[in-house]
Symmetry: C2
Subunit: 161 residues, 2 copies
């Protein structure tokens, strides 16, 4: 497994490698959870996640080393290892600048751009206001249309406080 030492020789190759890997296997998503303690009643949760079989997880460790953030956790249901970044600060300060500099090539780039927009709205506290939150949900529901969600957009907006 390559280490940061190897990267000194060939960082551009490794950065391209990570972007290509995320293009295939990564998932930018924004989910919503009911939270009584939050004024509008909903928490906005952006994340970048990547799963891999445990015996091929080298690239996940490498990503954590390069991004300098996020966590690895076992998914016992399907014997995979999952690398996740959920901190808004890490997403806006480490992950988003990485993909701005080393862009995705496929249409997943559009997902990333929506994700980016939501993270920046959140950095400005928009997810805590009714109108800002509505705008965020609208963008989020345009992302990963095939992904499963616990609540529909209608349900979320209906129960907004």
């Amino acid at each position: 497994m390559p280490t940061l030492k190897d990267l000194k020789h060939n960082p551009l190759y490794i950065f391209g490698y990570i972007s290509g890997y995320i293009d295939g296997e990564g998932c930018f998503s924004v989910s919503f959870s009911k939270r009584k303690k939050i004024k509008i009643g909903w928490e906005t949760k952006p994340s970048l996640s990547v799963s891999q079989n445990e015996d091929r997880a080298q690239i996940l460790y490498l990503m954590r080393e390069i991004f300098g953030c996020g966590f690895l956790r076992r998914d016992y249901s399907d014997k995979t290892l999952k690398y996740e970044i959920r901190s808004l600060n890490d997403l806006t300060n480490k992950v988003i600048p990485f993909f701005d500099k080393y862009p995705l090539i496929s249409k997943k780039k559009k997902e990333f751009e929506k994700f980016r927009k939501i993270c920046f709205l959140m950095m400005n506290g928009k997810h805590l206001t009714k109108n800002g939150f509505k705008r965020i949900t609208k963008i989020a529901f345009e992302m990963n249309p095939s992904g499963k969600r616990k609540y529909s957009l209608k349900e979320i907006l209906k129960s907004l406080r």
Copy 2:
């Protein structure tokens, strides 16, 4: 979608991107088919394949452009597009040198090395001799152990002419 024109600025990034993408989504495999016309009764078929949803297939077109070989075909069963390289000449002259120069990082590298060994044995005609073919099947069955095969190693060796 980036073109070869863009590559001139940043080839190392794009090559890394492709290796990373293949690390996640690519499959090096060697399958075997019964063939009456072949003396030993079996054909050895190496391939590199990658699938992607059609709306995110840009990277497949880019790979075909960079490797300069292979075919794209629709898989109507799951609405994906598949990029495949099956020509032994293309595999040994274009694909293998690419991954020698821009290596895989995860354990998939071991799959590639077995694949590489088989392709070179085939270039030397070993798949057409009984002993060479046996050696090849042994290596091939160590690859992608989770993949499904039509014939077991036992069945193949038993019906060897």
